[in-house]
């Protein structure tokens, strides 16, 4: 069984509003799966279904080969977008309480929490009240209680919102570490940079419908526009261009040329026809001057997101 989660033809309707429309996805074990989509797309509804807060009207969800049921609750850790803690409760007490609700015994909870608190260097917060802590501090605690029961599946809804850059990095490191230790992670976000950095697979949904799914690599490949960026030594290319030889081989055309700085380099952005082997371009240009760098321009997830949602 290579998939931890299999969502099959799931739909959910609230009144006249179709929150999810026939969604199917597979989440491979020990991978990071990104749920992308604009606000109101249905991400939270899907996440709440995985947490059994709501149930699908149609379709089924398979967890670890079994139909999702209450016994899986302790196998899932959830950090919701709307998250908080009891303000007037002490940090340690509260963390133990939340761990107990996930089926960890009080003794184990205390032991594990102390080691996490130690790791994050926040052991001195144990007896402080939550209301005395800053928002970022509270989020660290929320992260800890999300993972305290060593769940197989971790669901993070906008995990980075409200964190400062230092803590975002800390969190990313922890998320990757958790995956490497065997956890499967689903995370929902608007932060496209973190998607490219972290996700193995993604699904893009809009208005309850799936519009894109696959591995980050594949999606980029599927959406690329065959653009290349070549950097050439400036003096040489100047000669090449002045000689009127600014004509590229058939199937290639220059989109932009940046040669403001006469003494250094020129950056060319070149588009190519689909079937053409890009090596032709390299061979051609290498005769004209020295190629400093060459790379294929792949669309960012941000571009793909905006493109797909708008269309």
């Amino acid at each position: 069984m290579s998939n931890l989660i299999e969502i099959k033809n799931v739909s959910k309707t609230y009144g006249n509003y179709k929150a999810l429309d026939n969604i199917s996805i597979n989440v491979p074990r020990q991978s990071i799966y990104g749920l992308l989509g604009p606000n109101g797309a249905g991400k939270t509804t899907l996440i709440r279904m995985l947490n059994q807060i709501t149930a699908p009207d149609e379709g089924s969800i398979i967890f670890n080969g079994e139909t999702l049921n209450r016994s899986h609750i302790t196998q899932i850790g959830y950090l919701p977008e709307e998250r908080g803690l009891y303000k007037s409760m002490k940090v340690g007490e509260q963390a133990i309480y939340l761990a107990q609700l996930k089926g960890v015994s009080q003794k184990d909870a205390e032991k594990r929490l102390k080691s996490w608190f130690n790791k994050f260097d926040i052991l001195n917060w144990w007896d402080r009240k939550v209301e005395e802590l800053s928002k970022g501090m509270q989020q660290k605690i929320q992260f800890i209680v999300t993972v305290i029961h060593n769940p197989q599946l971790l669901i993070f809804d906008e995990p980075f919102s409200g964190f400062d850059p230092i803590n975002v990095n800390l969190l990313k490191k922890e998320i990757l570490e958790l995956r490497d230790k065997g956890a499967t992670i689903i995370f929902s976000t608007h932060n496209m940079a973190s998607v490219e950095e972290l996700c193995d697979n993604i699904m893009l949904i809009n208005k309850g419908k799936k519009i894109l799914e696959g591995s980050v690599y594949q999606i980029k490949q599927d959406n690329k526009e065959n653009k290349f960026e070549v950097v050439l030594r400036n003096s040489e290319i100047q000669e090449f261009r002045n000689s009127g030889g600014c004509v590229l081989p058939e199937g290639f055309s220059i989109i932009s040329a940046d040669d403001k700085d006469v003494n250094s380099e020129t950056t060319l952005v070149i588009s190519a026809d689909k079937e053409i082997n890009p090596n032709v371009l390299i061979n051609y240009l290498s005769e004209k001057g020295t190629i400093i760098s060459y790379r294929e321009l792949l669309p960012s997830m941000n571009d793909i997101f905006i493109n797909k949602v708008n269309s």
Partner: protein
Amino acid sequence: MNNLSIILKREYLTRVKKRSFIILTFLGPILFAALMIAPSLLMIKSEKMESKKAIAVLDETSWFEGKFENTDVNTFVYYDENENIDSLKKLVFEGIYDAVLYIPMTSLNIPVNAKLYSNKQIPMTLSSHIRNSMKQEVEHQKLLASGIDPKIVKSVQTNINVATIRMDSENEEKTSYAELEYIIGLLLAAVIYFVIFIFSSQVMRGVIEEKTNRIIEVIISSVKPFELMMGKILGIAMVGLTQFALWVVLTLAIYFVASGIILGPEILSPSGTVMTEQIEQLTEMSKSQDVMLEAVNMIQSINFSAILWSFLIYFIFGFLLFAAVFAAIGSMVDNETDSQQFSTVVALPLMISIICAPTLVNNPDSSLGLWLSMIPFTSPVAMMIRIPFGVPYLQVGISLSILIITFVGITWIAAKIYRTGILMYGKKPSWKEIWKWLRY
């Protein structure tokens, strides 16, 4: 430990450890004990506290010469009828007298008016002493004038004592003391009204807290909303019962200790209730064996264990019913201000039963009483009013059954509203939307 008990434990412990709970737990009994001790204390001390008073009497009618009896605190000094009232008034300011009693000559033959001048507040006991003495004397004179010997009148005066006896069964007869039952009924109604209201609105505040804290989603990803709701309701019920038990124990303890110190040991009787004590004083004053016996009967006629048990049962189920409704309300709103529209509607039946309380104590077995003790939202209050008077077991059984069935039904509905409501943010739902939630 299952989820319900984990939640219950948290709800209970966080509340019991709160400073406000501890303060209220200790303040309550002090207040109650003070309420119990104060009347007896005042009764005993008032005489000692009352200062001696000298009263000058200027009686122009000459009817009352020597008719005002001197007491421990009041001394009457009689002046000649030709004495000037103004010069006597001056003596008050000079501190020679505390008051001047002026009985002016009237055009009628019978003096019915008097004036009591003083530069200080006149104690009620003094004015009533004067009034009674005058009344007695005038009546005496009137009787003489009509040719009736006052002694005969006195001899025909008879005190009639009607003992009201309720027959609960053919062999069981009980003397009922409506006045005492009246007081106990009203007191219990007020207490149960307040405790149900205070503790069930705590449930609402707890739910709103979880919503505004945004912790709710974390918790219901671990437990069912129903478990969370019931854990909260039951935890707060336990808080209520704990507070209640502590109040009873502490009140009695403080009462015993304080009355021992303040009132002296002779006041304390083994049963130690305020009734016996006040009645003992009554006994002492009237020096009548009958009253003493009557008092003991009175206390014994009240079935305290029945009252205590029914209070507990009606508190528990009344609380559970209202708590479920308040939990649903809490889930529908984002802050307490928004909850008022809904909670007023819910609290209305409780208020109605409180408004009907005076009618109910006057006639506990009326059809109004019967109906109010059957309707589940009014029955806890209505029944607490009626129970001191005695209610047939069948009625209590039916009333409790209706209450429990309604509680189960309402909890089921409340859970449905709660389940949806806790995840809704931003706007107050309309009644139509709530109806929709019920059918999700």
